[in-house]
Amino acid sequence: MSLTDLTIAQARAGLRAREFSAEDLTLAHLHAIEALNPRLNAFITVSHALAMDQARAADAALARGEARALTGIPLAIKDLFCTAGVRTTAGSNILRPFVPPYESTVTANLLRDGAIFLGKTNMDEFAMGSSNMTSAFGPVENPWKRRQDAEAVLVPGGSSGGSAAAVAARLAMGGTGTDTGGSIRQPASFCGIVGMKPTYGRCSRWGVVAFASSLDHPGPFARTVEDSAILLGSMAGHDPKDSTSADVAVPDFAAACGRGVKGLRIGVPREYRVDGMPEEIEAVWLQGLVWLRDAGAEIVDVSLPHTKYALPAYYIIAPAEASSNLARYDGVRFGLRSDGSDLRDLYERTRAIGFGREVQRRIMIGTYVLSAGYYDAYYTRAQQVRALILRDFTQAFAKVDALVAPTAPSAAFAQGDKPMDDPVQMYLNDVFTVPANLGGLPAMSVPGALDANGLPLGLQVIGQPFNEETVIAVGAALERAAEFNGWRANVI
C-alpha cells in the first residue's frame, strides 16, 4: 500500500508511531502531483519548498511529542483561500498576479493544527461554475473514466473541482473547498469522495475571496466521512473577524461517526424526485434509504413545496451579491490592470479583460436585479422566496432529524457535453444542492454507488443548523453500507 492511499486517520496513527515521517508522506504526495498534475490540472500552484519546510517542522513537533490534530497531514487548498506569501488567483485572470499578505482564518486554523499545504487548487473562476470549465487556468480533468468510453475527458464538477480531483486521485489526503450553491458537494459526488458544507457561520469566511457572502460556506473534502469530520474540526470555530461567524462550541465531529442511526427519523423530500431524473440516480437514492432503514432508522416522507423555486431565487441572490463583492476589482489596488484613457476607461478595460464570460454574465445579472426600478421585482422577491424555502426546511425538521436525497442529477459529464453558452443548462446541476445554501444548513455528499459506466454517484445528507454531528452519523452509516472504500478512480 502506498502512503498516498492512507486515510488521514491512518496517516495520523502512522506518523505518531514513527512508521514514516511527515517528510516521507509529503514527498509521496508531491511525487504524485508531479506525475499526474500535468494531465489533471488540479493544482494551479504547487508550493513544493513551503510544503517541505512545513513537513520538517511537523517531524520536529512529532519528535517532541507535540503532535496536534493534523500534524504532518498534506492537504490541497482551493485557490479561493488567501494564503500568506502564496499566490491566490480565485481561478481568475484579474487575480493572476495577487500574492496575499495575510492568511485566511480557515487555513490559519489548519496550519495551527499542523497541516501541510501542497498547493492551491484549480476552480471555476470566482467559484462560478459546476464543471471547472470557467477557470482562467484551464479545465480540470476528473480522474474517473467511463467504462464504455474511456477516451472521454470528464469534468470533476465545480466550482471546487481541483480539490476534489486532487483528493480522489491521491494527490492530497484532504482539501478545502467552498460551497455557495453546491461547489463542494457536487464535485465530491462527481469524484467519488466525501464533501461537506457545514452550517453557515461554522467556518469563518475571513480571507476567503468573496462570491456571495450570505451563501458562501468553506468546508472540507476527504476520502472518508471520518477524515472530513477531522478536517472540519480544525477548520471550524468562532472568528471575530467575520461578523457572521458563529460563537458556538466546536464538538468532536469525528466521534459522531460511530453513533449509528438507530431511532433517527430520515426525511425523504418528495419534491426532489424531479422530472427526467435518471433511473440510476433514483436507484441509489432508494438504496441509501434501504441501508438506513436496515441500520435502524425510520424513513419518513416529507414535503418541501418551494424546492423548484430555489434555483431561480439563487440565480438572483448570488449574482446580486457577486456584483457587489466583485466591484472591488478595479485595477487600482491589487490584481490585473489594463491602462485606459481615463480612470473610468481603466476600470472598464481592466474588468473586460480580467473577468471571464460567466463572471461577466453574473455581474451583469446582479447589476440589473439591483438596479433602480427592478430591485423589488427581482431581489426582494427572491429574498422572500428564500424565506419560504427556509420555512419548508424548518417545518420538515419538526418531523425528521435529517434529509437524504441525491447530490446531483447526473454522474460526471464530459468536457463539451454541456454547451457553455447555455448558462441555464449548467445551472440545473445545482438543483439538489442550492436549497441547503439558501437555508444555511449543514449538508454532506457521500459516495453511494457506481453507475453502469463505473462512475460514482453521491448521496446527500442535509441536517439542522449546528447539528453537523447527525449529518456525519448518517453519512458514516451510508459509507459503511455502501462499502465504497474499495472503489477508486482509475487514474494511471
Binding site: 500574492v99 456584483s323 478595460r349 474588468r351 454574465r361 422566496v385 419560504l388 447555455d422
Partner: protein, 95 residues
C-alpha cells in the same frame, strides 16, 4: 420583460465592464435566457413574507468601534499595479 440593446449597454456601463458593440447581441440573448427562466418566481405567493437577507442562524455580534488593524502601507501596496510613494497611482482625474 426582455432586455433591449440599450438596456444591455446601460447594465454594462453600471457594471463598469467594457462591452464592444458586436458583443451585445450575444449578451442580450444570454441575459434574456436567464431572466426568462427566473420569471417563474412570479408564480410564488409571497404575500406578507418577510425577506430573508442571510443564512446566519443567530443574531450578529456587536463590537467596539475601534481600529484593530493597520499601519503597514508596504504590505497594502505590495500588490498595487502602480504606486507613487505611499499611494496608489491612477490616471489623472483632475486637470
Amino acid at each position: 420583460m426582455a432586455l433591449d440593446h440599450a438596456t444591455v449597454r446601460r447594465i454594462a456601463t453600471l457594471a463598469r465592464i467594457r462591452v464592444e458593440e458586436d458583443e451585445i447581441p450575444r449578451l442580450q440573448n444570454e441575459l434574456n435566457g436567464i431572466l426568462g427562466w427566473i420569471e417563474q418566481l412570479n408564480e410564488v405567493n409571497i404575500e406578507g413574507v418577510e425577506p430573508l437577507t442571510g443564512a446566519a442562524h443567530m443574531a450578529l455580534k456587536m463590537r467596539e468601534d475601534v481600529v484593530t488593524d493597520g499601519g503597514y502601507p508596504e504590505k497594502i501596496l505590495a500588490n498595487a499595479p502602480d504606486r507613487a510613494g505611499a499611494f496608489f497611482a491612477v490616471p489623472k482625474v483632475v486637470e
